[in-house]
């Protein structure tokens, strides 16, 4: 699969729409995940109250992020963890690499971590001759396929059973089979060997509790548990926004995240890791290293509108609810973070210049805002980013990654629209002129497919009429009718 970038989102989307297999895989996502989520939510008494509390906890954290991070770091270190601060992805990769090298290690296993996908950690390690093995089944599948994840929670959702079977047959040497038990059995056998031999385990972090220095990892397969307990060294990569104030806050998030993400009341495993083992004879890693990573997050923190982007708990509910994601899938976005939250954080993390299309890849329907467990107003963020694109303000992002491509014709059109429609006389004149001009395209009371020169002159009209009829302007506007019907009557001037 060729590497798709955010810059070519429109082309990626068209390709995705033509991909019958992908459409089939995505079709079930909305109904299955959406359905399970609804059922799971019904088992909670006050879902809205939970969302409010979660958002309040996140807002409190973000308002004092430095304090909570220091508290977290202090408590984690007191419990035996080593804290490392990474300004950006490159630094985070370097820290991880140095830790591995310093221990003379070569066998590395990984559990699922979007933060490590964000910084392309595997590539960085592979470039240095290491071969980290992904142990989450979905992540292992895309690692074998040399692909990026297409969903925040279920990274291989775009693959059919048959594709996975063929992949396993090719890369792992088993007979092609549709039998899920056989496929997962093969994965388990191979991954178990990797766990047993691994010297370093790299994980992500779902939540870091400031009060206790505890990290929490949620999962269903048990691979994160093995990754973080068998190898001698455990390295946890954590975005700085993952910290929460108190241990009791976990109660709220544990009720929200599994239900929102997979429709489960709780994941199969929850691993709470506070520092290292208390006694040398206990089981578990000798060392725990927590890499606290910024990579653009403090920039998001700075602006009162974009700050809420950092409340995200990576549940993926917005992806499942999004009509755009449901049609084109995750790869079209050209980012490890796709869908609604991806459209918002990708431009902020990697610059609007490359990802200026993403904020526009939305019908602003608001389904994402409705399902977000922490009440992030994604449409508000999308509109904010669209304003940054047009006004080129992009505080921070433009300075970092260069100005966004200008769209002079569009700017001109909207400028004219605002000026002309500030005058009722011009507005009406425009309507009258358009009524005459439209005779060129109106046939039997409607406007059908517009082609040829006219399509080139008016691309939006061509884009609309390719698949939909357009309504003609009415012979008289409402106001003209009203004026006639109310001639001489008293009405507001």
């Amino acid at each position: 699969m060729h590497q798709q970038t955010s810059e070519t989102f429109d082309r990626n989307a068209r390709e995705a729409l033509a991909d019958v297999q992908l459409r089939g895989a995505l079709r079930n996502l909305a109904t299955t995940f959406g359905g399970r989520r609804k059922e799971a939510i019904a088992t909670v008494e006050d879902w809205e109250g939970l969302r409010e509390r979660a958002r309040a906890a996140k807002d409190e954290t973000l308002a004092h992020l430095d304090r909570y991070l220091e508290q977290f770091a202090g408590n984690a270190e007191r419990a035996g963890a080593r804290i490392h601060w990474a300004r950006d992805g490159a630094e985070a990769c370097r820290i991880v690499l140095d830790l591995i090298r310093a221990r003379g290690a070569s066998k590395v296993v990984k559990s699922k971590s979007m933060a490590t996908e964000e910084i392309h950690l595997n590539h960085a390690l592979e470039a240095e001759g290491l071969a980290p093995v992904e142990t989450d089944l979905g992540e292992w599948i895309i690692q074998l396929a040399h692909e990026t994840p297409s969903h925040i929670v279920v990274p291989a959702i775009h693959k059919s059973k048959r594709q996975i079977a063929e992949l396993f047959a090719e890369k792992v040497g088993i007979e092609p089979t549709d039998d899920v038990a056989v496929l997962t059995g093969a994965a388990r056998r191979i991954l178990r060997r990797n766990f047993a031999e691994a010297e370093v385990g790299i994980s992500g972090v779902n939540f870091g509790v400031a009060e206790t220095g505890t990290i929490l990892i949620l999962e269903n397969e048990g691979n994160a548990r093995l990754t973080t307990s068998l190898p001698r060294t455990h390295i946890a990569v954590m975005g700085i926004e993952k910290v929460i104030p108190r241990f009791t806050d976990l109660d709220v998030f544990l009720k929200l995240l599994p239900r929102s993400g997979t429709g489960q009341r709780l994941t199969a495993y929850q691993s709470l890791i506070t520092g290292t083992k208390r006694r040398p004879e206990d089981e578990g890693p000798e060392e725990l290293h927590i890499v606290l990573m910024d990579n653009g997050r403090s920039r998001m923190l700075a602006h009162p509108v974009t700050r809420q982007s950092l409340a995200c708990i990576r549940c993926g509910a917005c992806l499942n609810a999004c009509p755009v994601y449901q049609q084109v899938g995750g790869h079209a976005y050209g980012s490890v973070y796709p869908g609604p939250i991806g459209a918002v954080i990708t431009p902020q993390l990697s610059g609007l210049r490359q990802s200026a299309q993403l904020p526009y890849a939305s019908s602003l329907c608001g389904a994402c805002r409705e399902v977000c467990p922490v009440k992030i107003d994604i449409p508000e963020l999308l509109l904010h980013l669209r304003a940054e694109v047009t006004e080129g303000t992009a505080a921070g992002t433009a300075a970092q990654h260069g100005p966004v491509k200008r769209r002079p014709l569009e700017r001109l059109a909207f400028g004219l629209y605002a000026r002309a429609w500030s005058s009722p006389a011009l507005y009406l004149l425009g309507a009258r002129v358009a009524r005459v001009l439209q005779r060129v395209v109106v046939r039997r009371g409607r406007i059908g497919k517009v082609g040829g020169l006219l399509a080139k002159l008016a691309p939006p009209l061509a884009a609309w009429t390719e698949w939909r009829d357009a309504p003609p302007l009415a012979p008289r506007t409402f106001r003209e009718q009203w004026r006639e019907e109310n001639k001489g009557q008293n009405h507001p001037r």
Partner: protein, 241 residues
């Protein structure tokens, strides 16, 4: 009760009959309807595409016009335009006086169907329409303004109409403003999901409160030579078959 009609540019120019129907229904329900001819557009296209200065200009004009006239309420046959009026205050975050004026106006600006049910407490406006009808929840009306029950009650009040609920009534139709022409293929892919459900429902008409959704849904229905009619709720309620 005197209300000021916010006709919206789409209804004004494309479906003036929807405007006429809305006026008739409001009058039937006992309102005096005023129409200020100075009105043009709420500026939603500019706001949604990121052109805030242009949107602000149109917003100021809108606020000035609708503050006058002595009407108790401003009523509009469009969920998205009403929602835009409710969002005006975001354009004046740094301008306290204008923000207050925007908020004050928003507090008395209602979408047509919501106004009938919530303010006038009317669910039967004497309408009659024979056949199966279904409802499409326009996104802004549903999620910005919380309009869900009101149109269903109004439709159930129409003599002769058999209401059928779509399985995905609250799914987006794919319009999304300029999204519909910036990403037409995605827009239509989303749309076809809705069209499939509408055809399967075997209805005579699909009704909505937003002309933009009706343009999207209706445009595909006619392109498909479908028998299903796309109707605005005002037209349905004015119907006397």
């Amino acid at each position: 009760m005197r209300i000021s009609l916010f006709i919206t540019c789409l209804v004004d120019q494309l479906w003036p009959s929807v405007g006429a129907s809305a006026v008739e229904v409001l009058r039937r329900a006992g309102c005096e309807v005023a129409f200020d001819e100075r009105q043009t557009c709420c500026g939603q296209p500019a706001f949604n595409t990121g052109y805030r200065a242009e949107a602000r200009r149109l917003a100021r004009r809108f606020i000035e016009i609708f503050e006058e006239g002595g009407a108790e309420y401003v009523v509009s046959p469009s969920g998205s335009c009403t929602a835009m009026a409710h969002h005006f205050h975001e354009l004046f975050a740094d301008d306290e006086p204008w923000r207050r004026r925007a908020e004050a106006l928003a507090a008395r600006t209602y979408e047509f169907g919501a106004f009938l049910v919530k303010v006038l407490k009317v669910e039967d406006v004497g309408a009659s329409f024979k056949g199966r009808v279904t409802w499409h929840d326009a996104c802004h009306g549903l999620r910005d303004l919380g309009i869900k029950e009101e149109p269903r009650r109004l439709i159930r009040g129409v003599r002769g109409a058999e209401f059928v609920e779509l399985p995905n009534a609250d799914a987006c139709c794919g319009f999304g403003g300029t999204f519909s022409v910036k990403y037409p293929e995605i827009s239509v892919a989303i749309l076809d999901h809705k069209i499939d459900a509408i055809e399967k429902a075997g209805v005579r008409a699909v009704v909505s409160g937003d002309a933009s959704c009706l343009m999207q849904i209706g445009g595909r229905l006619t392109r498909n030579n479908s028998n299903v009619k796309a109707m605005h709720i005002a037209e349905l309620l004015a119907s006397r078959e």
